[in-house]
Symmetry: C2
Subunit: 676 residues, 2 copies
């Protein structure tokens, strides 16, 4: 934005009082770069209409029509306008959408927009339709009501993304995700202004893309669950209409059990019967990089897969090849010597480099998980950082290392949403951390970040509850200014955004009730709901340690599947406890007592329900121990009796012991604090 | 079943005591033809396995695998068996599935099965895999638990359908229904042993099937919402795997606005600009039956559509052509004279007869709504009865007339589930009513029945709640013996079946909560839930009388959309009132008081909620009047004061006046009875 324009922008709103308060009432996410409010409002009425000034383009027509329908469904105003499919149909319409040209689904594209809401007019101005779509999403989040009428508060917003790559990866290999799951998550991404969908299509547990030349791939390695090429084209088209680029991933040379089920002859262990895996964890299966047929087959596959995806990137995985099969194969060891490849890393570099021209022929740049970043790897490759200190990465991280080593890079370290970590940790995970010094060139190489939804423990029923609403916080990190870091504000807005995400079809709220009805054997689910609001699934790899409990066909309709990270009541309770311990105020005390009583009562209800619902049985020990703790704390707070420290410590120990419900009590720390 | 086999069957269970009680505990639907129970149970364990004795067949493998997964998800037992895809893999498995051959998806196919559950063995025996699939559905409904373990009660079941045609029609023209909506409803059909899916693909409001020769059809007349031919093939394949035949419908010569939007030249009014309609109701648009091009275009369309559907039937609609455009066109009138076609019915017969060879060439029989049954119509046509006395049909009905006139026929009169009538009326609607005398030949012509889900007032969000669980009662009517008519039993089982339908992915329960969250602006929805449980959407055509309120793009996320026919609390309350008025018993009185108090309180809660939720406002007058009635009745029951008849009558009148919430109070009659 030029200086003069900026000056006018500030001038316009300089007179406005209490603008700060108004801003805080807005539940917009990701937070815009610049926002100014006034006291005026734009009242919505039945006659509300939209006009597009641009020439025919299905993207904005569809987006604007969907916006109108969504608004109508939320307000029940029965708008008279039906479909928006002509330019300048209603020059007097209250909402004017102006943009210059159709945007390309590329990283360098202009996605900025200006949104002006006055009391009688709303104007969206953007260079591309992609920017205009973003503006519609912002506007859609701003609806408010006074009990009888719906309105938009007046605002002036200038907005554009901080990072070009704002991605979500869905692993459709471990648990297959049907097209409708992908589509509704693309809707969620678009609502959060995310623009890269990374589609993990093959892994040890399944091959999910139709290859016409090799029907054996899906016949032998998909259990009948895969995408036809027509389906993929339809998804890519759907994504394009929402301004989202799709990046396919075929994970090689490791993660190859499914591929090798169909083509054992290119495996590194020729005596092994490769089979689609039902387990989680790192597998040995690896392609033989010394076999020319490996490249022939991969080329034929890539030749079919690449044209389905118009985007510039192709992800070859490249992670977690443990080298065991290579080490055990004398032929491969001999090849290494002959070609001066000292280590398996060098051999994998050899393999990766062979793929570059195959992809280049199809107009694609190679992208891979950070293990591909070896000393001889081409600087054209895009590095996808994923490891943290835990996985052996130095503290600075793979992303910084890549950028400093002249690679373009995308960050997923810290964005592993499958690990059930608190949203705060993802929100504060900046691709450009303040403690690392980057040159301008290095900064330019940091493309952005990507939330990764690995699917060991998710199915179409519960996947949305792992992705949303938390990925909205990641979207904000990638879109908004790096100074937007207030956790309270994020939590407050995230709660509202969660409802907006439900509205567009995501199932993260509704399917929780489905799981709880199943567990309760269709009895009243209130007590179960209460319990889910203070329990969280085991974090990191604890729930399925060693991949021993859950196989790919195990039931994921259990209590832990209804629970999510950031348990809602726990968030409130923990805040109340912190306040109480500082201020000893009555209100906080009352809130704490309210919850303690609720959990005592909950335990009784769960016992009653369990008489007709065996799936409640595994929850009872935890619920009972919690109830006993609550009784002691309640009596202590009400000063009826002093705490029995020995008993309480024993109870805390039991609560902290691994339980078969696979959840942890998210109020544990607060309860302990209260007991001290 | 032969006499000796039958004798053995009875002998086996003749010693069993209290079998009748056990039977009543089963929540099976449709109710089997013969069922005998014992006191034994089959306990489910982690080691439960399934073995198929038959040769490779994806239908039973998929069905059995899905059965296993569903059972595992309900019980959380973590079965060790993964995929069933080989014959005789586990000869010692507890569940043995034996069948002779793959069934054909034809009306004459053998769908019978025998299911034997003993304490240590379950055996399914069937002629075809279709029968075996039915047996798995029955078994799946029989799971019970004792609080800690899950089990099947021991049974011997012999079962087969009463009618060959057990259908569900979904109108995907008025509101488009994406593939996933169709698929989950096919799952529901299979669970209810229904075998014909009738897909209404074109109407005034949209053309929903890709025609490669005429891309203008979907380009101009679908608003971008249509099925590609690949998608249709996938749905047909999906249906086939569940034993369901798909019958396509292209409605001609009326209901043709969408078709004529693309081909105005074959319309009967050549001066009209035909356009996709946004309204409900009968339209004038009709193809010109005198124009040879009409048949050329239809033939090209049918030539593309027919091969997508391997079934023997093609539905040409043929209903509700009001003849206005034909009467107004002199050329058409002249043609009638020249060809001795006295009436428009004769002209339509001429039109219909021209379609028969076009369809025959593709191996299809013509089916049409009952208007096609004119005196010269070919006896090869299948008549689809839909009109009741209201629509001018004689009392005996179109189905009886067709059967007596030598037509094969299917009944939809009385199965119009879009009209929001009580499930009782559908349940007692027998295709072979006892008051009509049929010869054996006539009986043989009555193929069965079909529930029709017209989509003027449904979207993907609420359609399941209009179809399910009520269509299960229709499925029972069409499958079970005509003596199975106990309404109490049906209601009791239907409630449980509703949960089974949720389990397989139908959204009739979960999406109600979504709509209520929207209405409440994401506040607590308890009061709204309570209100929906005593309100029903206006019945018949009252909600959208004259098609004036709701257009095809109007919001269907309102209170009436969250309500369903057969409001659950109303059902209980009405029973309690009837008991109370007969017996004056205390228990019924307490139940009545409980509800009256609930609705008084509900009104207060709704008022509070409405301060932040404008969509609650339209409910307040009804809720307030109900609350005032309840207060009077409660005081009267508690003998605190006598009833103010004048005020009460005024309140009842107001309650009975059309309200803008588009619902009726389903406890109205009972409240009136209490007031007398």
């Amino acid at each position: 934005m030029g200086t003069i324009k900026k000056f006018c922008f500030l001038l316009l709103f300089v007179f406005v009082s209490n603008a700060q308060i108004k801003k805080e009432q807005l539940n917009v996410m990701p937070w815009p770069q610049q926002i100014a409010t006034s006291d005026a409002v734009f009242l919505l009425s039945k006659n509300f209409k939209i006009n597009c000034n641009a020439t025919a383009d299905s993207r904005i027509y569809k987006g604007a029509t969907q916006f109108l329908r969504r608004l109508d469904e939320r307000t029940g105003l029965f708008f008279t306008q039906d479909f928006i499919n002509k330019p300048n149909e209603f020059p007097e319409a209250e909402l004017q959408i102006n943009y210059l040209r159709k945007g390309k689904n590329e990283l360098s594209e202009d996605e900025s927009y200006h949104l002006s809401v006055l009391s009688n007019k709303i104007v969206i101005t953007a260079t591309t339709d992609l920017g205009a779509l973003h503006a519609l999403e912002t506007l859609s989040q701003m609806v408010q009501n006074n009990g009888s009428e719906f309105y938009f508060p007046a605002v002036e917003i200038e907005d554009n993304p901080r990072f070009a790559w704002r991605g979500l990866m869905i692993d459709a290999a471990r648990h297959f995700m049907p097209v409708e799951v992908i589509k509704r998550n693309l809707d969620g991404m678009a609502a959060m202004k995310m623009n890269v969908f990374h589609w993990h299509l093959a892994d040890n547990q399944g091959w999910r893309v139709e290859i016409k030349k090799y029907p054996q791939l899906t016949a032998l390695a998909s259990d009948g669950s895969f995408y036809t090429q027509e389906e993929i084209k339809a998804v890519v088209q759907y994504a394009d209409e929402k301004g989202i680029m799709v990046v396919p991933e075929i994970d090689v040379p490791g993660h190859a059990s499914a591929l090798l089920t169909a083509f054992p002859e290119i495996g590194s262990n020729i005596e092994k019967t490769y089979a689609v895996s039902r387990k989680s964890g790192i597998h040995d299966a690896a392609l033989d990089p010394t076999n020319p047929k490996t490249y022939q087959i991969l080329e034929a596959i890539f030749d079919e897969v690449c044209p389905l995806f118009p985007g510039a990137y192709f992800h070859i995985g490249g992670d977690e090849n443990n080298g065991k099969e290579w080490n055990a194969n004398p032929k491969i060891q001999e090849f290494k010597k002959k070609n001066n490849l000292a280590t398996n890393h060098d051999l994998q570099t050899y393999f990766n480099m062979k793929l570059i021209p195959i992809l280049k022929k199809q107009g694609k740049q190679l992208m891979g998980w950070e293990e591909i970043m070896t000393k001889d790897m081409s600087k054209d490759a895009i590095i996808h950082a994923w490891r943290s200190v835990k996985e052996g990465m130095e503290a600075e991280g793979g992303l910084a290392k890549a950028a400093k080593n002249e690679y373009k890079a995308v960050l997923s370290t810290g964005f592993y949403i499958d690990l059930m970590l608190p949203v705060d940790s993802h929100y504060l995970n900046d691709p450009m951390p303040k403690n690392v010094v980057f040159t301008a060139e290095e900064k330019a190489r940091i493309l952005g970040g990507e939330a990764t939804m690995w699917s060991e423990l998710v199915t179409p029923l519960n996947i949305d509850s792992r992705i949303w609403p938390r990925t909205a916080a990641i979207a904000e990190r990638l879109w908004s200014n790096d100074t937007v870091t207030n956790l309270e504000s994020m939590h407050k807005r995230l709660k509202q955004i969660s409802f907006r995400l439900e509205e567009i079809g995501l199932t993260h709220i509704r399917n929780k009730a489905v799981i709880l009805r199943n567990i309760s054997n269709y009895q009243d689910t209130k007590a179960l709901h209460d319990f889910t609001n203070i329990c969280e699934p085991y974090k990191l790899y604890k729930r399925n340690g060693g991949g021993k409990k859950y196989f790919m066909f195990s039931p994921l309709t259990l209590f832990a599947d209804a629970c999510t990270a950031d348990a809602s009541d726990a968030y409130e309770f923990n805040k109340a406890v912190n306040r109480y311990l500082t201020d000893k105020d009555e209100l906080s005390q009352e809130e704490i007592k309210y919850y303690l009583k609720q959990w005592i009562n909950m335990n009784i209800e769960l016992i009653v329900l369990s008489k007709k619902a065996p799936l409640i049985q595994p929850l009872l020990p935890l619920s009972k121990n919690l109830s006993l703790v609550c009784k002691q704390l309640l009596a202590a707070i009400e000063q009826k009796q002093s705490i029995n420290k020995t008993e309480l410590n024993m109870l805390f120990e039991q609560i902290n012991t691994r339980n078969s419900a696979d959840v942890e009590l998210a109020v544990y720390d607060s309860l302990k604090k209260l007991a001290e």
